[in-house]
Symmetry: C2
Subunit: 148 residues, 2 copies
DNA sequence: GTGAATGCAAAACCTTTGCAACTGG
DNA sequence: CCAGTTGCAAAGGTTTTGCATTCAC
């Protein structure tokens, strides 16, 4: 079924799961292997469809469970564009995402150590029409409240 | 009903709608007035609840329609955090958003002309744990295809 | 008058949940 | 052995849609 790079990349995958305290179920391992093997930011359903090819009995709920576990333990990123289905990304480097409004594709944009929001260097031919920066953290009020 | 700044801001609101080619329905006008009067990034449902106070017969579908029209014609922004309900923002200045993971609040972060993603100046007491930069536009492949 | 907007309810879409059966450590 | 995981189906939250009625222009 999966011919290439079995002996070398198979161990690390299970090791990475175990290392994060994740129980090593065949489904979880398989979902992670499927995800690692792609670079097109699949939706949960797309992961499900690909996972089913090698494991026909796997269920959608399990795929959601596995993806959620991977995201929570830091082995995958969840990418949300507008309100369409979440997409998943095994690339854990600190990078941004580019959404093509024409083809719907999502591309990883690596940002060098000093690269910042507006002013990122893009691959040749990419044209940006909109930059969206969103910050997360704790606001002033909540920080004040904590100090009491 | 709404006592303050009626004569001055009321006209502009309807004018702004008309100016964008939007038909001036009472519902649309009311939804926009409700939105303009807030600074807390309400969800569609929250806009609906507030709109109902002055217009009890308005429907959820109409609120969605109106908000969508406002966003499309450039009078409001739609803010998505994770996959929770979209929030709406009448502030059309070029700004970023800060999501407080403790209280769930969303704050506008004005970015001066030269301000960039990572490195933004935040209000006192705000603590950033995560910055998410997402770009939109047209990718290299689509741009190439267009040139044919 | 006519195309656009409204209101209602039903459907769609993506995701989560309840629960019984199973299984990895 | 038992907490964590799976699979199924059903429910959940948010948004969209179909359609008849109404309205702004």
């Amino acid at each position: 079924m999966n011919g290439s790079s079995s002996n070398l990349s198979d161990s690390p995958v299970s090791a990475r799961l175990a290392m994060r305290g994740l129980r090593l179920t065949p489904q979880r391992q398989h979902v992670y292997e499927v995800l690692v093997g792609v670079r097109d930011h699949p939706t949960a359903e797309e992961v499900f469809l690909r996972a089913k090819q090698g494991m026909p009995e796997i269920s959608m709920a399990t795929v959601y469970n596995c993806l959620d576990a991977l995201v929570r333990c830091g082995l995958a990123k969840q990418v949300n564009v507008d309100r369409s289905a979440s997409r998943f990304c095994p690339n854990m480097s600190d990078h941004d995402h580019f959404y093509c409004e024409r083809c719907g594709g999502i591309y990883d944009i690596e940002n060098g150590a000093g690269a910042v929001g507006r002013g990122i260097e893009l691959p040749r031919g990419f044209e940006v029409t909109h930059v969206d920066v969103s910050l997360r953290g704790v606001c002033g009020s909540c920080n004040d409240a904590e100090k009491v």
